[in-house]
């Protein structure tokens, strides 16, 4: 028995270690952002918040923030709308091509994003579509909408379809059934899907890099600076981006917990 306890302790230690390692880069970025000197040296001699002041004053960063947020909002809204129906087709209805559809849907998720981004760039070029933030919305949707569909599908598997049948037996129209029964039942899944879509879009680099042309998202702005000339604004913007994502996640999960308790 003591053997079992020891094993459990070791496993617990291992888990704690891995989780700690996952957050090392975020903490390092946070540290680097408050170092006064232009090149990061540890231990930090003098701390300074001037890189944050520069960040808040920078018009480039403001533009990039705006671009990132617009893309994330559009990707999430459109993906979720499509994915609600996509998930019904995935999990709820029986139809002829369903197995094939389920597999086809997974393929973009299982695909190197840089290669997909370049293929999309070639495709947009050939069609004469301008690389821009709307093109990025489309590019990110190819990857994000299937993931959202999977998340909502898990919810769709879990609910009892006989409620829908009862409603339509009692004379509800198809639209009424969808609005009053199906959609509320899918609610928690839809919310999770939306949250995932926003956050995945917010953190996405490769697809935006190839599709956005002159419009620059936050990860692209950072990339440009990392390649072109490091300043501590890189970790400052990076750390703010980490904090923003973390805050959105915490708020989202709290709302989600309320939602599923209410349901």
């Amino acid at each position: 028995m003591t053997d079992g306890i020891l094993r459990r302790r070791l496993l617990g230690l291992y888990v704690a270690l891995i989780v700690a390692i996952l957050y090392v880069p975020m903490l390092t970025v946070g540290l680097a952002s408050i170092s006064r000197s232009r090149f990061f040296m540890f231990p930090i001699r003098r701390t300074d918040l001037k890189w944050y002041e520069d960040t808040f004053a920078s018009l480039q960063v403001r533009d990039a923030l705006w671009t990132s947020l617009s893309i994330a909002a559009c990707v999430a809204l459109i993906s979720v709308t499509m994915a609600v129906f996509g998930a019904l087709a995935f999990a709820r209805y029986d139809w002829k091509g369903r197995k094939l559809y389920q597999q086809v849907l997974l393929i973009p998720v299982f695909f190197p994003q840089a290669v997909l981004g370049l293929a999309l760039q070639l495709w947009f070029n050939s069609l004469g579509v301008q690389m821009s933030w709307p093109a990025t919305v489309f590019a990110q949707m190819v990857w994000i909408a299937p993931i959202v569909t999977l998340i909502i599908s898990i919810q769709a598997y879990g609910y009892d379809g006989s409620v829908e049948e009862a409603a339509s037996d009692l004379g509800a129209s198809r639209w009424q059934v969808f609005r009053d029964i199906t959609f509320p039942l899918l609610g928690p899944g839809v919310f999770s899907g939306f949250l995932f879509a926003v956050l995945l879009s917010w953190g996405n680099f490769p697809l935006a890099y190839f599709a956005s042309g002159a419009d620059v998202t936050i990860p692209e702005w950072l990339y440009g600076k990392m390649i072109g000339g490091y300043t501590p604004m890189v970790p400052a913007v990076g750390f703010l981006s980490v904090l923003a994502g973390g805050l959105a996640l915490v708020i989202g999960l709290t709302v989600r917990a309320r939602l599923s308790r209410a349901a």
Binding site: P43, I107, A119
Partner: protein, 304 residues
């Protein structure tokens, strides 16, 4: 008619659709249509265009020239297959390490009490929402000369590590770090299909831990483990940020070659031919695995 079909459709039980629902249930197809259009226009069509371009003469900017194989010959003759081999090697090694690293973690999360499991899951997912170049930059600042590790050790003990970036192992480390969540989640889905009492029963009946793992746990968890491995293999095959930031150019991956063919090189057909190699390899791996998976069972059961 559609109302009838909807009534006939059985509750979400997954597989085993009765013929009744199949015959007249267009609802599913209509619901799937927007997604199918998106994937047709945003995935299939661009990839077909890439395939088409890969057979065009060098440096052409139109997909309607006379087809040729010269780009594929160039790949071998101009040693572009080296970057492809590096990518393949990196993907294989990092996937193998990920399998070993993620398995105990997945096991711990599946066996943890529900609240704890949710907390751990959130902690592991959260880094996914931070752009990978930010996280890699964090590692660079941590591992570089005078970075947190080197500077910290130097200050404490007077002996530093020097720079730990700019080599191949650190690229593997970067890949393992970035793709851990992608390995972990399918693995958790797989492991949650192993009923705890079956595990207990095997141990009670005198099976060694190794035998229980080999004969019971692994076969039952196999679909999830396989998906995780596959996902990591395929996406790390196309990775380039790790080699660029952590490796600082010590090697060049195929994705970097593809990118430079499309950008500086202005040779779309060559970039396309290299992409086709990646697409073929990724496609073959995914196709083989997909045929053996029952998604209804995996996703549906994980809920319970």
């Amino acid at each position: 008619m559609t109302d009838l079909a909807e009534k006939a459709a059985p509750a979400a039980e997954g597989s085993g659709a009765p013929a009744l629902g199949l015959a007249k249930a267009p609802a599913g197809f209509w619901c799937a249509l927007p997604m199918l259009l998106l994937l047709g226009l945003g995935f299939l069509a661009p990839l077909l265009l890439v395939v088409l371009y890969s057979f065009m003469p060098r440096g052409s900017f139109s997909p309607f020239g006379s087809p040729t194989l010269e780009n594929y010959v160039d790949i071998v003759e101009q040693n572009f297959h080296i970057s492809f081999a590096w990518s393949l090697w990196l993907a294989l090694v990092s996937t193998a390490i990920l399998l070993l690293v993620a398995y105990p973690l997945a096991l711990a999360i599946t066996r943890a009490a529900p609240r704890r499991a949710v907390l751990l899951t959130v902690l592991v997912v959260a880094p996914l929402f931070v752009a990978e170049n930010i996280r890699l930059q964090g590692w660079v600042l941590f591992l570089d000369k005078a970075g947190v590790l080197d500077g910290g050790l130097e200050a404490l003990f007077g002996v530093g590590t020097g720079s730990l970036t700019n080599n191949v192992p650190v690229i593997v480390f970067g890949l393992v770090y970035i793709y851990l969540p992608f390995m972990l989640f399918p693995m958790i889905l797989g492991l949650s299909n192993v009923p705890p009492d079956v595990r207990e029963a095997a141990l009670d009946m005198g099976a060694s831990r190794w035998r229980m793992f080999r004969d019971i746990e692994l076969p039952l968890a196999a679909p999830g483990v396989m998906i995780g491995g596959l996902l990591c293999f395929v996406i790390s095959l196309g990775a380039f940020s790790e080699a660029k930031f952590l490796g600082k150019g010590v090697i060049v991956t195929v994705a970097q070659d593809i990118e430079s063919a499309f950008t500086f090189g202005q040779n779309w057909p060559r970039g396309s031919a290299l992409s086709v190699l990646v697409i073929l390899l990724a496609g073959a791996a995914v196709f083989l695995a997909m045929r053996r998976l029952d998604l209804d069972a995996m996703l549906g059961r994980s809920k319970a």
